[in-house]
């Protein structure tokens, strides 16, 4: 799951290294339009629909928070 997420992030913002442990939002690596693209790609990749209420910047601040979000939305 982790590698798939990193691959999707790289596709959206190829100029950043998403393997680093940093806050993607605070560091300006993802803006609101990137989050929309990310949600769309994650929905498609994992066959889910992330709950609209969960589409908050803090849920996309790092790989671990994205994994937690996917698990909350039914990815095993």
């Amino acid at each position: 799951m982790k590698q798939k997420i990193i691959d999707i992030l790289k596709e959206i913002r190829p100029e950043f290294d998403f393997t680093e442990k940093t806050d993607f939002i605070e560091q300006g690596m993802l803006d609101s339009f990137d989050i929309v693209s990310l949600v769309s790609s994650l929905d498609e990749e994992f066959g889910i629909s992330i709950d609209g209420l969960d589409i908050l910047p803090e849920n996309f601040s790092g790989i671990e928070s994205i994994i937690a979000l996917l698990k909350k939305n039914g990815v095993k």
Binding site: I12, F33, V36, S37, D51, G52, L53, P57
Partner: protein, 354 residues
């Protein structure tokens, strides 16, 4: 707040769209995106082409054009109009009310009511509420509800959050008393503490337009706009819609004693495809029951987006069939409102171009 209306109906609907069409690809260079990002967002958000009036065209031009079309086609008689309710956020003048201007341009009778209402994204629902209330009066038998906006003139071309989606349009909805005993269920909520979520900061009496308010500045996401132009906080609006709209719809249907399966269509305001897809998923309603194509073909025209969607997606069907439709609008104010009504056998339901 729950509302109930009885013995009222929509008898006709006409949408007026500008002929001038601008494609997303033609404006991509204005935005702070790579081409790949732009094309991906086009697909996800549903950007396509938007209809924008030519310089100098006002809402009264669109409304008068639409009403004259109905007079010429003998679909409406001037003397039958007892009230005009105009919902807009782009009036011809600060004063007088643009509904009076339209009355004058058309030479309508003086024994009538003209009302302007300042509302946007939920403007169709609020206009219907006001029109239904007027129809409770014994002397009012026919109300013309006009929804119209030309807000493209107040959007920065370099604002990637707002410019790709803005559209201009007008609609004419005819409302009458009905012999049927069908009940129309509705609800509405407002939250003025978040009034600045969607705002044009300057140009009113609080902050008059000046050379200073016309200066372009860049925001954190790379949009360029001035205080004289529309500023909508997309993140806040999205979160508000996902939080408030599903429970509003659930409550409406519960009050009416029906299930989502009973509803033929959910005709929602059209901010973008992503928001509407997430709403449909949250409500567990099939996507085909929640049309989300108005942004792609015409743009988001605020309070005109719902009637545009009805005209475009249902068209002639509503002149021949009876459909149970849930309407909902949400946005500027903040305001969110919904209605459940049966739309059937309309005299007309079409789109014309100005």
């Amino acid at each position: 707040m729950n509302l109930i209306f009885r013995n009222k109906k929509i008898s006709g609907l006409l949408t007026v769209l500008p002929k001038n069409e601008i494609k997303f690809e033609d404006e991509m260079d204005n935005y702070n995106f790579t081409v790949a990002q732009s094309l991906k967002l086009k697909k996800i958000m549903g950007y396509g082409s938007h209809r924008i009036v030519e310089s100098g065209v006002t809402i009264s031009d669109l409304c008068v054009y639409g009403l004259n079309y109905l007079f010429d086609q003998k679909l409406l008689k001037k003397e039958d109009i007892d009230a005009i309710v105009l919902v807009t956020q782009s009036p011809d003048y600060i004063l007088p009310p643009t509904s009076n201007v339209i009355q004058g341009k058309l030479g309508l009778k003086k024994d009538m009511i003209c009302l302007d209402i300042n509302q946007g994204c939920a403007g169709y629902e609020i206009g219907l509420f006001q029109s239904f209330m007027l129809l409770d009066q014994p002397d009012i038998n026919k109300v013309v509800l006009l929804n119209a906006d030309v807000l493209s003139q107040k959007v920065s071309k370099r604002d990637r959050s707002n410019n790709p989606l803005i559209g201009d349009a007008a609609s004419v909805t005819i409302l009458e008393k009905s012999e049927t005993d069908l009940t129309i269920y509705a609800n509405i909520k407002m939250d003025g503490t978040a009034f600045d979520t969607v705002i044009i900061p300057a140009g009113g009496f609080k902050t008059p337009s000046s050379p200073a308010t016309a200066e372009m500045t860049e925001d954190a996401e790379g949009n360029f706009r001035s205080l004289d132009q529309l500023c909508a906080n997309g993140d806040k609006i999205f979160n508000f819609v996902q939080r408030e709209v599903p429970p509003m719809i659930e409550s409406l249907l519960e009050k009416a004693g029906i299930t989502k399966d009973d509803v033929d269509y959910f005709m929602f305001h059209q901010p973008n495809k992503f928001t509407l897809t997430k709403l449909a998923d949250k409500l567990q309603v099939p996507h085909e029951k929640v049309p989300s194509n108005i942004l792609e073909f015409f743009g988001n025209s605020n309070g005109v987006s719902v009637p545009t969607s009805i005209s475009f997606n249902l068209g002639d069907r509503l002149t021949k069939e009876s459909l149970l439709i849930c309407l909902a609008g949400f946005g500027v104010g903040l305001t969110w409102a919904s209605l459940l009504l049966r739309m059937e056998y309309l005299s007309f339901n079409e789109i014309i171009y100005f």
